[in-house]
Symmetry: C2
Subunit: 424 residues, 2 copies
Amino acid sequence: MKVQPVRGMRDFYPEDMAFRNWLFERWRRASRRAGFVEVDGPELEPLELYTEKSGPEIAEQLYWLEDKSRRRLALRPEFTPTLARMIAARQAALPEPIRWFNISRCFRYERTQKGRLREFFQWNVDLVGIAGEIADAECISLAVDAMKEVGLGPEDVQVRINDRRLLAALVRHLGIAEDRVPQVFGILDKRDKVPAEALAGLLAEAGLEAQQRQGLERILAWQHLEDIDARELATPEVHAAVEAIHRLFALLADYGIAEWCRFDIGIVRGLAYYTGPVWEVHDCKGELRAIFGGGRYDRLLGDTGGKAMPACGFGGSDVILGILLGERGLRAEPETSTEYFVASASEASLPQVLQVVRHLRARNRSTQFDLKSGNLKRQMKKAADAGARFVVIVTEEFARSRRVTLRDMSSGDQRDVGLEELGA
Amino acid sequence: MKVQPVRGMRDFYPEDMAFRNWLFERWRRASRRAGFVEVDGPELEPLELYTEKSGPEIAEQLYWLEDKSRRRLALRPEFTPTLARMIAARQAALPEPIRWFNISRCFRYERTQKGRLREFFQWNVDLVGIAGEIADAECISLAVDAMKEVGLGPEDVQVRINDRRLLAALVRHLGIAEDRVPQVFGILDKRDKVPAEALAGLLAEAGLEAQQRQGLERILAWQHLEDIDARELATPEVHAAVEAIHRLFALLADYGIAEWCRFDIGIVRGLAYYTGPVWEVHDCKGELRAIFGGGRYDRLLGDTGGKAMPACGFGGSDVILGILLGERGLRAEPETSTEYFVASASEASLPQVLQVVRHLRARNRSTQFDLKSGNLKRQMKKAADAGARFVVIVTEEFARSRRVTLRDMSSGDQRDVGLEELGA
């Protein structure tokens, strides 16, 4: 029986796992220095947690099953609904603002392609309880800090920022009915993923008139916040949204990350629950999908059974970031598994070898020995295979002298040392 | 909409997550110093990976789903079959012995009870390529080391060791047919979980005669390896198995862990694939289920499509160990989220506050500030709520002097410091 892994899911051999651990450690470090604490939830959640709030795109991509009591359970496609459920369950007891981060394994049953797998890890950061742009800025600042932490700069990646309130106001100003806005957002979010003609077709299918489609095209061509039409800017709704974006950019300048950030009217985000600023981190060459993405979701917590609370956050997967770092040569080298390899000069001395092994491991030194008790030449080869930095050679003398030979594998230098000195 | 989490699955609020991280870190540290490297696989695997090899008990407890192509996928109930699949896929390229560890989220759909959840984390250690008892001893030694690492001693936990070859030889010696052995093992594995009469009933149902059942009862009453009947010991099969156990215990003495280990004829393990030594770590009071369990599985790799390779290993869940550590008062305290809280003496100086925040975070100091820009009294309360060790007070003077007031929250001491000194 030769079994293949499931399509779109990964095996993590030691070198893959070393990168994953390296990346997670950097995400954790950046999160903690910004004052966020780690949380987690189950990977199986009631299906309705996603079908009702995440929007139709996510709902179609769920892996789900029916349990023996005919309850429908879904493998989490994202963490935010779990976070909303957890906050609703303990809302009165949690000091505000809530600053949580999480590294979740998530599942989405969609077509696999470059940067898109069916099982991936998502770093998720949420800041709950603050309505002002300072919370959005705090999240964007953490995303930028994580980029620095893995060795990327503003010439590599950019945060592209928009506000759904602005886009919604502009769409309504084009005379598009309120109840069509979510559908139009869903189509606009596909802008980078489908050809322009296909997009126009989808908008026509959604009932938009030619003039409205042309209006949208004109808006999406804007490069700067200053490009906004004076007539539109005179609309109070549009004006207020533009003011909010200006406040956010002023804060990003105070955070010292202005050069990492730019306005982009085309950023919409696929999830249904966003209500304010939305943003994505993209590679500057524009070759890859969004690396991180997030925004404000002020209604989700109230809708998930808790009291209404303003909230914002972001998520980012290991997959696209891994591709980008690989292309830039910034992926971590695999960890060396072994620091010391204890070899025996005579086949009989396993108890002595084990004494030395125990001594080194008790000092938290990564230590191996030849489990097959081969001759010294074979042991030296094993030590080299294991990538050992040092070989300790134990002879029959050891029982009396408590001394061993320590060989540095990179320099080839050997010296005689007492057991107490070893691994100190 | 108020959604409840799935039964038998856990939310990890910050204090729960702190314990999980603390425990995983110790598992990782113990694994690495024994020369093991971390690997992982998908959480969704083809259903047949488990139904064919893990045995009927596991197969009944699977969460599984059918995908759009009608392939049956299961949430992993354990890691070993994934490991066997991964090794089979790259066998020629992997240097032997293979020393891998893994911390997996696993799922078993069974009745929830103390120490048994439907979603749990399992630390999994495997050593592949070595047939001798030294490999089993290496694994047991790592399990003991992990127990030490979390603060437990031989007065708290014991490794109870048996060998399936011994038990199989004894069962055959009672005249029980070869093809009934797996079923009898399955029943014996339930010994601690069902009353004695129920066990006798199950054995009768399996077709064992009264004399065979009495023989089994007599054998299971043995306390020491020396209790084995001389007539049985004269059987070559039994004799060879006893010799192997003696060799293993001699090695455990060489590892310095004899006082942690004892022979227990009643240890069987529920999984179908074990072929040699089997062992479990139990609390000495015998109040809880097994904390860790493992053994030798020399046929699994060949059966999973690779070439046959001797292998052994063990797994242990976070749940029972968490209960035991909780009862002994050994559970870690939750991490403090915040080291520094930067407060402003005047509401207008947010840009100055952000300068100090950026400075501290750039030095990897966990730093928060009041996102709602309250007055100083309110900020001091926020700092206390966040558990901050230090409060940094920024006044209007800062723009000119680049100096701040540093307050130690535990002593109440305050002093004036320059920005460059802060967080150094």
